[in-house]
Symmetry: C4
Subunit: 263 residues, 4 copies
Amino acid sequence: MKRRVFTFLDPSETEHPAEKWVDAAVIALILANTVAVILETVEPLYQRNRVFFDGFESFSVAFFTAEYLLRLWTVTANPKYRHPIQGRVKWMVSSGAIVDLLAILPFYLPLLIGYDLRFIRLLRLTRLLRFFKMGRYVGAFRMIHQVFRTKKEELVLSLSITLLLIVVASCLMYFVEHDAQPAKFSSIPETMWWSVATLTTVGYGDVYPVTTLGKTLTALISILGVGMFALPAGILASGFSESWKGEKNGQNCPHCGESIKCQ
Amino acid sequence: MKRRVFTFLDPSETEHPAEKWVDAAVIALILANTVAVILETVEPLYQRNRVFFDGFESFSVAFFTAEYLLRLWTVTANPKYRHPIQGRVKWMVSSGAIVDLLAILPFYLPLLIGYDLRFIRLLRLTRLLRFFKMGRYVGAFRMIHQVFRTKKEELVLSLSITLLLIVVASCLMYFVEHDAQPAKFSSIPETMWWSVATLTTVGYGDVYPVTTLGKTLTALISILGVGMFALPAGILASGFSESWKGEKNGQNCPHCGESIKCQ
Amino acid sequence: MKRRVFTFLDPSETEHPAEKWVDAAVIALILANTVAVILETVEPLYQRNRVFFDGFESFSVAFFTAEYLLRLWTVTANPKYRHPIQGRVKWMVSSGAIVDLLAILPFYLPLLIGYDLRFIRLLRLTRLLRFFKMGRYVGAFRMIHQVFRTKKEELVLSLSITLLLIVVASCLMYFVEHDAQPAKFSSIPETMWWSVATLTTVGYGDVYPVTTLGKTLTALISILGVGMFALPAGILASGFSESWKGEKNGQNCPHCGESIKCQ
Amino acid sequence: MKRRVFTFLDPSETEHPAEKWVDAAVIALILANTVAVILETVEPLYQRNRVFFDGFESFSVAFFTAEYLLRLWTVTANPKYRHPIQGRVKWMVSSGAIVDLLAILPFYLPLLIGYDLRFIRLLRLTRLLRFFKMGRYVGAFRMIHQVFRTKKEELVLSLSITLLLIVVASCLMYFVEHDAQPAKFSSIPETMWWSVATLTTVGYGDVYPVTTLGKTLTALISILGVGMFALPAGILASGFSESWKGEKNGQNCPHCGESIKCQ
């Protein structure tokens, strides 16, 4: 019986058609929760459908609590967490289980410790963690995780180059523009906001240089720097591209990383 | 006779030089129609040349109606739609024929159901569908279609990563900036507009964070996120590049996907 | 004698060290002319150094006129233009000679046809053509020319996709935003300005959607469209990259287009 | 003794665990100095912690002065600078030693030549040079240096194309927009600021065309030009990517430049 519940809850062992339906229903509920959290912030919409939103929240919490308890009960069927007590504790501190717990805990907390508007809003944020429960079901999450792990070294190196550039650009710009625009380039940390907006080419237009020297410097920094900022993006993109190819075919050509069919 | 009309209308069987001239004339008329729809929206230009614009519209509709009827008549020459009635119905519900019909129908509709300014403007929009009649003649349309079909899986996956990022960025930003700018970050759906403008690096500058925490978060999100948003673009670009190579040469090297000449 | 002058003027046959110095001096004069045209537009700078700027202009025109006449005289030394009259006429209508002529002609024109401020400013623009005289000396110009020629087909195809996207995006956006912002989205041609600013991700912030539907549409268009707009850029970039490799090594690997050393 | 101090200071010969701790401490001090310079510019923060910031600065200068003198003393242990006097002078004019000196000198200068607020702020900028002392310890700096050296030719060529594009775009735009917006497009150098902001797609929104001709020109320039501006970025990115691969494996495939394991 425990064995069957475990198989029901574990998406990786789905074989039975009924289990597929259960998985689809859980995914739908998670997506509906995400949409609900997003729509609740539209004040007029929430006021009009308060009963519905609160009812749906109660139902969801009940469902996810039941799911959490069932998982806690059946997890010993997984050889990794075989021991009745130690295994369960080990599962409870795994990242997946912590996300599951944090996604339902905020509902119970205000009942215990009283109300505080600001604090409650923060707690609502944690409800979005339910979205990451999707990780069990959807390959995209696994792939993001894998890409970040495979490309860790290159990402760290390119991010440190990015950081170096932000520091250098901000310091130069602060010394050049501070006197002309003391409010917008008030300090180097403040100027970093300009650096990021410029080097990512977002360019909101709230902060920009006005002196000739500042404009010339911006031109130089942006022409060379934009390339550096494209590095983390390029690394992630090539990581995903490699993951896709790796998933489709098992084998990679030793020459170009492209998949090949060896005889 | 029917056979000859069919060959005349079908751009894929163009051999006769006269047919090339017909094709060129139809393409010119389609382009002229597109330009006309675009220029008609320039109010003073339309008022001054009202007679010309309306005359050209009437002529175009007459031409495209005749073309539609001729196609309907001769389509049975195509083995795919051989049956006199079933074949013609099958052709009428094909995407190309629906585009053809929708591109002329709005002209006749107001005659039947009376005038309503707002509704008429919407109907005018459908006149632009004439532009897509080009699909029969120009390879670029075929290529776009093919690239989207070949890269469907990767596009869906990368778009879901994009969507995930928009949701996460918007939720975080809403909770961080809502108190400082209740008008601009009024709700999570509203904040999504900021997410898209930032992560595509368009950066209109109508919405941007003002708090220190919001700016720091924006910096982190944009440095990492811009790469994710470049994924669908990169996939489409590589798809087109592969299509071009594929069109030029029939064969691809198993190593790098580049075309080769094997002995 | 004519032969020696020809060799002196032709940068491709530079062997003598003295010729190198002549080439360098001409390049310096061309660059100085470009800088002068640029700096003359700074009104206070021009007023203060009027005598110097006008003197430099007279000297440059004298020099380039002499160069033009010398070239016209010696061009028959080039086997391509051997015939004394036909060869010279043939040379005069070559693109390089036309640029040379247009770069000096405006100086003489006002002497003949009287002054008109607006017209004179236009003539000044043609002085910038002197910059393109550099084409004879600098490889970068040759490379740009070559890349555009090699990638012509792909550029035309990708530019037509870009154009298609601008037309579609502008038409949709016009119908969605026209009622909310009749001044900024006044017509489809006007809306095209928004399309270009958004799809190239420049995002000046002078025009942006305000309705929910407009924002949603912008999000969809920009996520998918930015990739299409990156196509011409990517084609040019890969064209330059191939040109570089091709210039360094004579041979390309049949597999990946990368240069190889075959035994 | 001198030999041991030299080995202690030189990060490339770190073998002893104690030396690793010394290196880590120096890196930490350099980073703390960078953070201090950045935070000092936040006026309220500096006023509140003046004693701490000034104390830390004195300590750092003392430390880096001692380091400089020790290096000067022990540098003769390096075979490259063996000679007691000539070797030391040779070391003092090496780029690393100049950075080291400039990073501490400003502290002593005001003591000698009296105070001047504006001048002191400039001197503070040189304190940031301490950050580049990191170059000795962190591979990222070495890699940046190496990439710029390897790709020098291509960078110069692509930057000259970029410069060419800025000049051409600015001249055209100046002649088109000057009459409509004499303040913003006041001269060609001023218009270059618009060119850079547009072609890097930063698009602050402080300068943009308003005339129809100006907008059309901007559309053309940005669609084609954005690709050219992406060239230096792309070259740097591919340079880093090659450096990474080169660092991981010693050998490259002759086909695609990818690393391979040959038998």
